[in-house]
C-alpha cells in the first residue's frame, strides 16, 4: 500500500494541475456572446460550474444473514469554460482528474468541445486516458482535441463511492471570471447540515432545504463572480475566494432507523452528531494511555520510554526548567517530525515511537506521556495554522486542526512546546500557532477554547548596531553586531539546517548579503550568542565606493542599513483582501559613521516620528564632530490591515519609504 507521504508526493504533482471540477447544466450558458474584448485581461471564462453532492445510507445484506450499513456518495460535476486567448488554450486545454481509489469508487467522465462556429464534438476515448497509479489508485486525463481560441470545453464527471463523504468545500471563484457557480447538497431528510460562507455574508440565519422524496436539498448559486487571485501578505485563500464549506453534523433518527435500525447518534463508533465535544472526545481517546498501553505492541514502547525517562530522572538538574529544557532538546534529537496534513486520519503513536518519527499529533502524544512520567502535567492544544485560515468555531470538524502543541505550567512558569518543530527551541512555537484559538484537551476529557497568545514586537526583533568608517574615497569599513530574535530566528533556523556544520555560518553570510550589499570576510563573522530566543553575531565588512564622492561632497545613503520598508506590500493600486503579517516585529538600526575629519553636513535628514494603528516609525540622524549617528526603528504593532484602510496605510508607508531614502550630504569645512 502507498504510504501517505508517497500519496502526498503524487498529490503535490496532480492536484495543482487540476484544471476543473465543478459546474452546472444551463443550456443558456454557451457563451457565444462572450468575447475577448469583454475580458481583455483574462485567458478564459468559466461559463458555468456546478456540483450535485448526494449522500445516503442504506442497509444492505452483506452475507446471507448479516446486514450492514453501506454509505454512498454521489458527486456529479459539470464544467464549461470558454477559451479567450492562446494562453487559455494552454491553461484549460488539458484536464487531470483527482486521484481516486479503484476499489470503492466508480468514475465516469464525458467531455466535449464546442467550436467557435457552434459545432459540438465529443472528446473521443483516444483523448481520454486512464492512468493506473500503483495497485489501488487511478486517474483520468483528458486532452481536448481541435481546441481553438473561442472554443468552449465541457466536462461532466460522475463519481460514486462507498465513502460517506458528508462534507465538502465549494470554491465559487477561479483564477478567471466565473459567470455562474452552483452547489447542490442532497442529504437524507432530517439530517442537520452546517454551512459557512467565507467571506461572511452576514447571513447567519438557518438555511432551509427543499424537501424532495427522502432527501433534503440545499442549493446555492452565485453569478458573475470576479476572478480570485491571491494577493501578497493575505491570509488563507478562503478570505478572498467566495467559499462555502458544508457538512452534515447530525443524521436524523429516522434516517438511522431506516438505514441502520438504531436510534443512537452514532454509526460505526463514530459520532455523526459532530460537535466540538465529540471531537475533543475522539482526540482524548487517542491520548488514553490505558487504552494505548493495553495494546499488545506496547511492550517495546514501555521499555524504551522508561529507559529514556529514567535518564532524566537520574540527571542532575538544578531546577525543573533545566530538566525540561534538556528533555525537550533530547526528545527533538531522538524524534523527528514528518509533515502530514492528515494526522486526524493516520495516527499511530506506536509506530511513531518505533520509527522515531511522527506527525505533530503523534509526537505531542509521546511527549505528553513522557512528561507525565516525569511528573509534569501538560495540556495538548490543537491549533489551526493561521496560514491555512482561521479556525471556524461554527464548523466543528476533525480536520479543523493542522498542528498540535503542548502547554504546561511548572515552577510557576508557563511553557509552550512544539514537539514537531526542529527549528523551534525550548518554549517556542511557530508564528502560525500564535494569536489563534486553540482547542485545549483537558485531562478530564473535556475541552476549552483559549487563544494562544501572540508575542510582542520586541520579542521578534532584528537589531543591527554598526560602527563604520568612511574614507575620503567613499570606501567603508565597519563592524556590525546583529541580533536576530523570536520568530525571525525561528524562520532563520527553518531556512538553515543547524546540524550541518559550517552551513549555518555560510547561510548567515548569505542572509546578510541579501540585507546589505556588502563584501565581507567571512572569517570575521563570529557567533557571539546562540540562545533559544536570540542569536547575536558580529562581523566586519567592507564596502568599496559606499559613499558617492564628487566635487568635494560626500553623499551617505542609509538605506543599506534598514530592514524592510514594507513598500513591497503596498505596490498595488488597490487591495481586495486584508493584509496579514505573520507576526509583530521590530526592526531597529543604530549606525555610527565616522567620516573623514573636517567634513560638515550640508544636507541633513530631519528627525522623524510617525505612528498609526499598525506601524510605529522613528528616525534620527545626528552629526557630532566627525561622527554621524543614524537611528531608525520600525515596529509592526498590529498584524492585520483591513483592505479598507489600504490607501491610508499605503500613504503612511510611502512617507516612511521616502524618509528612509533621504541621504546626507557632507562637504569639507574648508570649501
Amino acid at each position: 500500500m502507498l504510504k501517505p507521504r508517497l500519496l502526498a508526493m503524487i498529490g503535490a504533482v496532480v492536484i495543482p494541475a487540476m484544471v476543473m471540477v465543478l459546474s452546472c447544466q444551463q443550456a443558456a450558458y454557451y457563451g457565444q456572446d462572450i468575447t475577448p474584448e469583454l475580458y481583455p485581461d483574462n485567458s478564459a471564462i468559466v461559463l458555468s460550474k456546478s456540483r450535485i453532492h448526494e449522500c445516503e445510507f442504506v442497509l444492505e445484506r452483506e452475507k446471507t444473514h448479516v446486514w450492514g450499513v453501506v454509505e454512498y456518495t454521489k458527486i456529479e460535476e459539470h464544467t464549461k469554460v470558454k477559451i479567450l486567448t492562446e494562453s487559455g488554450l494552454e491553461k484549460f486545454g488539458d484536464m487531470i482528474s483527482l486521484v481516486f481509489r479503484k476499489e470503492n469508487s466508480d468514475y465516469e467522465v464525458e467531455a466535449r468541445v464546442i467550436s467557435p462556429d457552434g459545432k459540438v464534438s465529443d472528446v473521443g476515448p483516444e483523448n481520454i486516458t486512464l492512468l493506473e497509479i500503483g495497485k489501488h489508485y487511478k486517474q483520468y486525463r483528458i486532452a481536448f482535441p481541435g481546441l481553438r481560441v473561442g472554443s468552449v470545453i465541457e466536462v461532466e464527471e460522475k463519481i460514486k463511492s462507498q465513502n460517506g463523504d458528508m462534507a465538502g468545500r465549494w470554491d465559487f471563484a477561479h483564477e478567471v471570471p466565473t459567470l455562474r457557480s452552483e452547489l447542490v447538497f442532497k442529504v437524507p431528510s432530517g439530517s442537520k447540515v452546517r454551512f459557512n460562507y467565507a467571506p461572511p455574508r452576514g447571513d447567519e440565519r438557518e438555511i432551509t432545504p427543499t424537501a424532495e422524496g427522502k432527501y433534503d436539498i440545499y442549493r446555492f448559486v452565485m453569478e458573475n463572480i470576479p476572478p480570485f487571485n491571491r494577493e501578497r501578505f493575505m491570509s488563507a485563500d478562503h478570505v478572498g475566494n467566495p467559499t462555502l464549506r458544508y457538512y452534515t453534523y447530525h443524521i436524523s433518527n429516522e434516517t438511522q432507523e431506516r438505514a441502520v435500525g438504531i436510534e443512537e447518534g452514532s454509526l460505526k463508533g463514530q459520532p455523526y452528531h459532530m460537535t466540538w465535544h465529540n471531537i475533543a472526545k475522539i482526540y482524548n481517546t487517542y491520548y488514553d494511555h490505558i487504552c494505548w498501553e493495553a495494546n499488545k505492541k506496547s511492550k517495546e514502547y514501555r521499555k524504551g520510554k522508561n529507559a529514556f525517562i529514567e535518564e532524566f530522572k537520574r540527571g542532575e538538574f538544578t531546577d525543573t526548567e533545566s530538566m525540561l529544557r534538556s528533555f525537550v532538546s533530547s526528545f527533538r534529537e531522538n524524534y523527528q517530525a514528518i509533515e502530514s496534513g492528515y494526522f486526524f486520519r493516520y495516527t499511530n503513536p506506536e509506530e511513531a515511537y518505533i520509527t522515531k518519527e511522527g506527525n505533530s499529533f503523534e509526537l505531542a502524544y509521546i511527549m505528553r506521556e513522557m512528561l507525565t512520567n516525569l511528573g509534569m502535567a501538560s495540556s495538548v492544544v490543537l491549533v489551526r495554522d493561521i496560514s491555512e485560515g482561521l479556525l471556524d468555531r461554527k464548523m466543528p470538524a476533525l480536520n479543523a486542526f493542522t498542528d498540535v502543541i503542548l502547554n504546561l505550567e511548572t515552577g510557576g512558569n508557563e511553557y509552550w512546546i512544539d514537539p514537531g518543530s526542529h527549528m523551534c527551541r525550548f518554549d517556542q512555537v511557530p508564528w502560525q500557532c500564535r494569536g489563534v484559538d486553540g482547542l485545549w484537551l483537558l485531562p478530564n476529557g473535556e475541552f476549552v477554547f483559549k487563544k494562544v497568545s501572540m508575542r510582542d514586537a520586541e520579542y521578534n526583533r532584528f537589531v543591527n548596531l554598526d560602527k563604520v568608517e568612511i574614507t575620503e574615497e567613499g570606501d567603508l569599513n565597519g563592524i556590525a553586531k546583529i541580533t536576530i530574535a523570536g520568530q525571525n530566528l525561528i524562520l532563520l533556523r527553518k531556512r538553515i539546517d543547524e546540524d550541518e556544520e559550517g552551513r549555518f555560518t555560510e547561510e548567515l553570510i548569505d542572509l546578510f548579503k541579501e540585507r546589505y550589499p556588502v563584501d565581507f570576510d567571512e572569517k570575521e563573522l563570529t557567533i557571539v550568542e546562540d540562545g533559544d530566543d536570540s542569536l547575536v553575531v558580529t562581523y566586519h565588512y567592507h564596502m568599496p565606493d559606499f559613499a558617492d564622492v564628487a566635487g568635494g561632497f560626500i553623499n551617505i545613503d542609509f538605506s543599506g542599513w534598514i530592514g524592510s520598508s514594507y513598500m513591497d506590500v503596498f505596490e498595488d493600486e488597490g487591495r481586495l483582501y486584508d493584509i496579514h503579517f505573520p507576526y509583530l516585529r521590530c526592526d531597529r538600526a543604530c549606525v555610527r559613521i565616522k567620516v573623514p575629519a573636517g567634513m560638515v553636513a550640508v544636507e541633513l535628514p530631519k528627525d522623524a516620528s510617525r505612528e498609526n494603528d499598525c506601524f510605529r516609525y522613528t528616525r534620527t540622524v545626528d552629526m557630532d564632530r566627525d561622527t554621524v549617528t543614524f537611528r531608525r526603528c520600525m515596529i509592526i504593532k498590529n498584524p492585520t490591515i483591513a483592505a479598507g484602510d489600504y490607501e491610508k496605510v499605503k500613504q503612511f508607508i510611502g512617507e516612511t519609504y521616502k524618509l528612509d531614502r533621504e541621504t546626507m550630504v557632507l562637504k569639507a569645512a574648508s570649501m
Binding site: A143, G146, G502, A550
Partner: protein, 641 residues
C-alpha cells in the same frame, strides 16, 4: 533423542542458520558501515554513499542485465529525502528484482522486495500521457546511524538503452565500482565526461568475454555553483554505447551521428504524409503572389498559433512522432508532432525543410559526444529558403519567424535526412541579433518629479521573453506588468501610457512605448546626487573564491541604453561621472556621460561575446563586472541655485 529426530533438528537448525547467514551475507555488513572512518568533509554531509556498484552485463546482442547496488549511511537528522528511492521500470529498462533494506540504530530492520514496492507512472513536467513507470519507495524514520542498502536488477532487451553511469552525486561517495562485461565480438564505445575513459582494469573471461572495471574512491559531493554552465557537463560519467545495429521502430546504427539521423528519418517518414488536413492548411497559407519566405512564415505562424503542447508517450511515442494528419485533426502534439506538421506542410508548399533533433542548452553541450539516441530531448525544423536556411521552433509561442528560443540558442542539433550528418551548434539569435535597445527621456521639474518617456525595442530572444511576460498575465493589465518590469525601483511611479507594437510573434520585433510620472525621482535638496541609470546593464556578482566551474554569462546578446535627462532651470550640473569603456574576449561595455543643452545624456552598451568564461580568467571578468556595477551606480552631482 532418536538419531533421526536429532538429524532432523540439526537439519532444520542448519537450514535456518544457512538461510540467515545467506540473507545477511548478501548485504553490506552493518557494523562495517558504521565503523568506516570518514574524512572531515564527508562527515559534514547529511548522508554518505558507502558503496555504489554498477555491473552492466551484456550477455548477447539481445540481452543485457544491469545490477545496481547502493549502500548509504545517514549522518545527520532530517535527511528524509535520502530515504526516497526511485528506479525506472519500463519496457526498455525492466526491473527484475529489487531488494531494499534499512537497518536503524536501534537494530530494527526493514526489508522490501519488488512485491512490496509500487510501480507508479512517471509524472514528468510536460508529459501528460505516458506509460513510463518507476518503482518508488521510501524508508521513513531515518536518523543518524541508519544504514540503507538497495539492490536492483534490470533486464535490457534493446542494447540501444544501455544506461550511462554517474561517478558523482550530491552526497559523498566512498567507493564507486563500475563493471562492464560483454562478449568480445560486440563492439563497445565509451565516452567519458570529466574522468578517464580508459578502464582501470581489463579482464578477459574465458576467451570470448571481456570485463572492464572503473573504481573510484572518496568522491566528494557535487556542489553546483551559481551561474555555472549546465551541471551534467561537469558530473563525471561514462556513456556506454553498443556499436551495433539495433531495432528501435526501425533500424538504428549507433556507430555515427549519420546512423542516428538516418534512423530518425526512417522513423518519422511515415508520419510526414500529407493528407487533407495538411493540404487545407497549405492551401490557406500559400496564397498567390506570396514568396517562399512569406509562405514559410505564414505556415510557421499558423502552426505556432493553432497547436498546443501535449505530449503523448505511449510505446514509441517518446521517440516517434504521431502522424501529421492526426495532429492537424487534434490541434495538439509535442515538439516532434508539431515539427512534423510544420515540416510536412512546408514540403507540401514546395519549400525544402528538415527535422532537427536538438539537445536543449539547459542540459549541457558536450564536446564530441558519442552518438546516442538519448542525447536529444527536442525537435525543431530547418527551412531552406533562397536567402539561406533558418531554424524554426513551432512550440515557442512567442518567437518571431527565424528566431530560436533562448534555451535552444547555442545548443547542439542534428539535421535529419541529410548526407554527412553531424552535430551542429544552433545559432545565437537566428536571423536576428539578440538585442535590447532603450531610448529614455527624463524631464525633471522643480519639485524633483520626473516625466519619463521610454521606447524599448526587443529583437531576438528579447522579443520572446518580453512577449511571454505579457502573454501570461492572467488578470493583470499590461500597465501593471510594465511597471513591475521597468519601473520596479520607483514604487510611486504611475504609468501614464503603455503601448506595444509587435506583441504578436508574426512581427519581427517587439517595440514598447512607456510614459510614466515618477514623483520621487530626485530628492528635494539643494545639493543632490542623482542616479540616472535605468534598465540594468550590470552583471551579477561573481563568486570567484574557490570556484571550480566556469561562469555562464548567458546567451550572447547586446544591450544599448540611452538616457537623456533634462533638468529644470536653476539646477546646475556640478559634475558628471567618468566614462567607462572596456573590452575583452568575453564582453564589451561602454558607458559615457555627456552634457546637453538642458542636462546630460548617458549612453551604455553591453555585449556578451562568449557565453562561457573559464575559471582561469574569472578574476579578470569579476574585475570588469565590478567596474560595470560601479559605473551603473554612479551619480551625477547637482546643485540648485
Amino acid at each position: 533423542m532418536k538419531p533421526i529426530t536429532a538429524f532432523m533438528l540439526l537439519s532444520i537448525f542448519a537450514a535456518v542458520w544457512l538461510s540467515c547467514a545467506s540473507k545477511e551475507s548478501g548485504y553490506y555488513p552493518v557494523t562495517r558501515a558504521l565503523d568506516l572512518d570518514l574524512t572531515d568533509d564527508q562527515a559534514k554531509a547529511g548522508a554518505v554513499i558507502l558503496l555504489e556498484e554498477d555491473h552492466i552485463d551484456i550477455r548477447n546482442r539481445d540481452l543485457c542485465y544491469w545490477d545496481h547496488r547502493q549502500v548509504k549511511r545517514i549522518l545527520r537528522p532530517r535527511q528524509s529525502e535520502e530515504g526516497i528511492f526511485r528506479f525506472p521500470d519500463n519496457k526498455d529498462l525492466q526491473v527484475m528484482t529489487i531488494q531494499a533494506r534499512a537497518v536503524y540504530p536501534d537494530g530494527r530492520e526493514e526489508m522490501l522486495t519488488e512485491l512490496d514496492i509500487e510501480r507508479l507512472p512517471d509524472f514528468g513536467q510536460f508529459v501528460l500521457y505516458s506509460d513510463n513507470c518507476s518503482r518508488v519507495f521510501d524508508f521513513s524514520g531515518l536518523r543518524p546511524g541508519t544504514v540503507m542498502e538497495v539492490k536492483v536488477r534490470y533486464r535490457i532487451d534493446n542494447l540501444a538503452f544501455v544506461p550511462n553511469t554517474n561517478f558523482q552525486k550530491q552526497i559523498p561517495i566512498l567507493e564507486k565500482r563500475f563493471r562492464l562485461e560483454h562478449p568480445a565480438d560486440i563492439d563497445i564505445s565509451i565516452y567519458a565526461v570529466g574522468m578517464e575513459r580508459e578502464p582501470d582494469t581489463i579482464i578477459t573471461i574465458s576467451g570470448d568475454r571481456r570485463e572492464m572495471r572503473w573504481d573510484r574512491f572518496n568522491i566528494e559531493a557535487f556542489e553546483p555553483e551559481r551561474s555555472m554552465p549546465p551541471a551534467p557537463q561537469y558530473l563525471p560519467s561514462l556513456w556506454i554505447s553498443v556499436l551495433e545495429t539495433h531495432e528501435l521502430g526501425t533500424e538504428l546504427d549507433l556507430s555515427s551521428w549519420q546512423g542516428i539521423a538516418d534512423w530518425y528519418d526512417d522513423l518519422s517518414r511515415s508520419s510526414m504524409k500529407c493528407g487533407r488536413g495538411i493540404g487545407r492548411l497549405v492551401a490557406e497559407e500559400k496564397l498567390p503572389g506570396r514568396s517562399d519566405e512569406e509562405v514559410a512564415r505564414a505556415i510557421f505562424h499558423r502552426v505556432q498559433r493553432d497547436f498546443r503542447y501535449v505530449a503523448i508517450y505511449f510505446g514509441l511515442g517518446g521517440l516517434k512522432p504521431h502522424e501529421a494528419e492526426k495532429t492537424v485533426e487534434k490541434l495538439y502534439g509535442d515538439c516532434k508532432d508539431q515539427s512534423v506538421v510544420l515540416a510536412t506542410a512546408l514540403r507540401e508548399a514546395g519549400i525544402e525543410s528538415r527535422l532537427v533533433s536538438v539537445r536543449t542548452a539547459s542540459v549541457g553541450r558536450f564536446e564530441n559526444p558519442q552518438p546516442s539516441v538519448g542525447y536529444f530531448n527536442h525537435v525543431i525544423v530547418r527551412v531552406d529558403l533562397p536567402g539561406g536556411s533558418m531554424f524554426l521552433d513551432p512550440t515557442c509561442k512567442t518567437c518571431s519567424f527565424g528566431v530560436l528560443p533562448h534555451v535552444l540558442q547555442g545548443a547542439h542539433g542534428l539535421v535529419i535526412g541529410e548526407e554527412g550528418a553531424g552535430l551542429i551548434v544552433l545559432p545565437f539569435g537566428g536571423v536576428q541579433k539578440n538585442r535590447f535597445t532603450t531610448n529614455t527621456a527624463i524631464r525633471i521639474n522643480d519639485n524633483g518629479e520626473a516625466v519619463l518617456c521610454d521606447t524599448l525595442r526587443c529583437s531576438g530572444y528579447f522579443s520572446e521573453i518580453y512577449r511571454n511576460y505579457f502573454e501570461n498575465r492572467e488578470g493583470q493589465t499590461p500597465e501593471k506588468i510594465a511597471k513591475k518590469l521597468f519601473l520596479d525601483d520607483y514604487p510611486f511611479a504611475e504609468i501614464v501610457k503603455f503601448e506595444m507594437r509587435g506583441a504578436d510573434p508574426s512581427s519581427d520585433c517587439l517595440v514598447m512605448q512607456l510614459e510614466a510620472w515618477i514623483p520621487e525621482y530626485a530628492e528635494d535638496r539643494q545639493t543632490l546626487f542623482l542616479k540616472p541609470a535605468m534598465h540594468r546593464a550590470a552583471l551579477p556578482e561573481i563568486e570567484t573564491d574557490d570556484r571550480k566551474y566556469p561562469l555562464h554569462l548567458g546567451v550572447l546578446h547586446e544591450l544599448r541604453y540611452e538616457t537623456v535627462v533634462e533638468l529644470p532651470d536653476g539646477w546646475i550640473l556640478d559634475g558628471l561621472p567618468e566614462s567607462l569603456v572596456m573590452e575583452n574576449d568575453f564582453l564589451r561595455f561602454a558607458g559615457t556621460y555627456d552634457r546637453t543643452e538642458r542636462g546630460f545624456r548617458l549612453l551604455r552598451m553591453r555585449e556578451i561575446r562568449i557565453d562561457v568564461v573559464p575559471t582561469d580568467v574569472l578574476l579578470d571578468i569579476e574585475e570588469a563586472a565590478r567596474s560595470i556595477r560601479k559605473f551603473e551606480e554612479s551619480k551625477v552631482l547637482i546643485q540648485k541655485m
